[in-house]
Symmetry: C2
């Protein structure tokens, strides 16, 4: 520390400006705290702005350009599949990415948060050193430090480095749309990209080491997604793994555990992510990390020692850096809640959102809130299910989504005059990630089957499916009793 | 009545198979009642299947074919505007219409409802005579009779009959897409069709006799819709009326009250609808109708005499035939509720849906639930508003809807630590009619601002706008107090 670099003192220092960092910083500043935000990149927004948003934009553009929506609606094929260049896709993607980065910046400025660009690391337990190539280091002292540095793709050892092998960050820099691609890993990122590429007319193979895709989904939804992906033409290689990957001049050869042999132009690795904790100099704060370099936290998102389980004074963490579910939505909630606890802010948010939905941007979308059928079984809860299909719904027919459906899980109640308590909502189909919010709110308010029976839904809308799935559940209850 | 036509006895006879008729019949049959459904047309489904669904399908197809979605997303213009033929539009429309008719039929068959095709009219207070060209008349006796015969377009006297002058029924039989069209009437139907035609590249003029479009909408939404329609290129002739309409060989001339003079290829009349009560032989049941041939009902949807206000024994009415709002969604609710009351069914639905949303399928969509700002002012309720824009939302940016917004109205509460009660939700933008349901449920459950603050929304979704509009309202409250 030189004389020119006096330590600036803050109530809160946030490392990282992704969804967790942004919302944590804004939350504290909103309540009058002095906040510094440290971001290693030139832009704010983190992975959400740099990879999540662009990947969802690519998805939207692919749906439009490939003509899937148009094709369903009439005889003509509007598709420009094959003729589309990467440039076509990047036009809109760049705009959206820049808007999102600007939005985050404006949010920070509006909240009068000091922004430091550079690599932040622990100088001691309370002081963060910020280094950049342009400036002398800054030293910032924080009563509270929130680590929200996110995660980076994990590169498995059995894959060589080759420009035709992409991870979920580098895939967005792809120069031309490949003829074929092998996606390694059937998690959220793997499934999402497999669908987008397939939509673009790329011949896609998906290698997944389990039988079931996305096992946290309700079984019916997971099966429906798998069928839908097969129907799209994706070569689904489940319960299989990569034995070896050999880079050749003309193509890449993958030998599978099953003995199968694939030649491909390109590979996308979707094999999990590691926490960005390497460069934080955590030793200086007396912190060690767990598996995949994850920070371990308690229920208030305060960092704890993996061995002693004791909380580390004043240091909190939220978002990808603490692991699952690693979604922007939940990361924001974690950070907001952590800051309420850390800084003892007005108790306007006394608990973390009690229901955390999951939204998967595959084609079609999947989304869930509350319990799955398997969870009910494990918890020995007696339940009744009700389903309603998009193809039995006027708007479903209008938009041409014939495969989508909603599945509601209600707690069984043998008194036919009594409503049943809602336990879980599961949707696959267009705008599933939007429709789920009705279920989220219903679950938050401990709603019963009466809610959807008593609701008036606009016509034609997909929202109506909640009512018809509830009727179905009521019918199933009656059948079971009689 | 001949010997061959014995009177068949039912618990309920329903006249008309539109949304009100279908749901009323199914409701009664579900609870074990013997039900007859009388439909004058060859197909079931009424106006919802024959005009509402086709018009919404036309809207969806126009959005896709015109390339509005694609154009927003990238440089290329996918539009086939001008090249599209009516056949292109009708391909999907026919399929959707047939599916919806089949769905209604299956619903009736599943509920073991007897269907009679023919014109139903009162033979006496309890007997309905069904006449068709194929068969001898049927005579059906009903303990309860539900009139759900809908409405038909009203044809104003100052318009001659001409094949180039369409109403909201005949417009769907249009043979080719006109170069230009004048839409008469700025109600829901007029605004919806003006947008669809404009989207298809037709030069549209809209003549509306008031300054404000759709005055039941919140003022901000109404203004935004008008601006948006102007921006689309629709010639908005507000506060104006038609003085005369002169059919010429080459075109049609309209002279406006303001003195303006328009020449057009075609006209669409959207000048209100009359109840279909003419052919019901209402005299025989001792019923008379009100303005626009409307049936007058009490709070249980039982028909009452316009003068004596006394309920007519056993006769109920629901849907368009009783007038506003004349929406499929509300019609279904009315009929279900009427049947619960009429047949004293199990009290699983003790009240009509307490919040009735409105969905307007303009481009962009508009939707509302609960109170408008004007209503709050009239009722002397102190309120705070909060807004959030689609262009500040990640999914809004992804789908390229930069004009949409949500506006929440909360009851003012000066105690900053207390949440505020939600009073109204107003949305303009893509999928507004779906997004509104979150507000409908919140209003039904008397939710406060805490609900949306505590909710976790998928990212990226438009649903998040509820949270940010609530933050905005909270900020506005704070500003007002300080």
């Amino acid at each position: 520390m030189t004389r020119n670099n006096k330590v600036k003192v803050y109530d809160l220092i946030v490392l990282g400006s992704g969804p967790a960092g942004e919302k944590g910083a804004a939350q504290a500043a909103y309540f009058g705290k002095k906040v510094a935000l440290v971001e290693k990149s030139e832009f704010l927004g983190g992975a959400a702005a740099s990879t999540t948003i662009p990947s969802k934009t690519l998805r939207e553009t692919s749906l439009t350009l490939s003509g899937v929506r148009a094709r369903r609606l009439h005889g003509i094929d509007l598709s420009i599949k094959g003729k589309a260049t990467v440039k076509d896709f990047l036009h809109h993607e760049r705009m959206v990415k820049e808007s999102e980065r600007k939005r985050v910046l404006n949010n920070m400025l509006r909240h009068k948060i000091d922004i430091y660009h550079g690599l932040g690391s622990f100088y001691d337990k309370k002081i963060i050193k910020v280094e950049s190539s342009n400036n002398q280091p800054y030293y910032l002292q924080g009563e509270i430090i929130l680590i929200a540095t996110g995660s980076s793709p994990r590169y498995p050892d059995n894959f060589p480095k080759d420009p035709r092998i992409y991870d979920s960050d580098s895939i967005l820099q792809i120069k031309k749309i490949p003829k074929n691609i092998v996606v390694i890993g059937g998690g959220v990122i793997g499934c999402e990209y497999a669908c987008v590429f397939s939509e673009l007319g790329v011949k896609v193979s998906l290698i997944h080491n389990k039988e079931i895709l996305l096992p946290f989904l309700d079984h019916d939804i997971s099966i429906a997604l798998k069928n839908s992906m097969s129907k799209m033409g994706i070569n689904m290689l489940v319960s299989d793994g990569v034995e070896s990957c050999n880079v050749k001049e003309k193509n890449i050869e993958i030998i599978l555990t099953s003995g199968k042999n694939i030649h491909t132009d390109s590979i996308m690795l979707a094999t999990g992510r590691n926490s960005n904790t390497d460069k934080l100099n955590l030793d200086m704060a007396g912190i060690t990390t767990g598996k995949y370099k994850l920070l371990i936290v308690d229920k208030n998102y305060q960092v704890i020692h993996p061995e002693t389980k004791k909380p580390v004074d004043g240091i909190f963490a939220a978002g990808d850096v603490i692991g699952r579910p690693g979604l922007a939505s939940t990361s924001m909630e974690q950070a907001r809640y952590a800051m309420i606890k850390a800084l003892d802010l007005e108790p306007y948010k006394e608990h973390i959102a009690p229901i955390l939905p999951l939204g998967i941007y595959t084609i079609p979308e999947c989304s869930l809130a509350g319990k799955t059928e398997n969870e009910c079984r494990d918890e020995k809860i007696d339940y009744v299910i009700g389903k309603a299909s998009y193809n039995q719904n006027a708007r479903g027919m209008i938009i041409g989504d014939t495969d989508g459906f909603i599945k509601l899980i209600y707690e069984f109640n043998k008194d036919l005059k009594k409503p049943m308590k809602l336990l879980g909502v599961h949707i696959i189909g267009e705008i599933a990630s939007e429709l789920i919010h009705l279920g989220v709110n219903a679950l938050m308010m401990n709603a019963s089957s009466n809610l959807f029976i008593d609701s008036c839904f606009n016509y034609p809308t997909l929202g109506e499916l909640y009512k018809y799935a509830t009727y179905d559940a009521m019918g199933n209850r009656t059948k079971r009793i009689k």
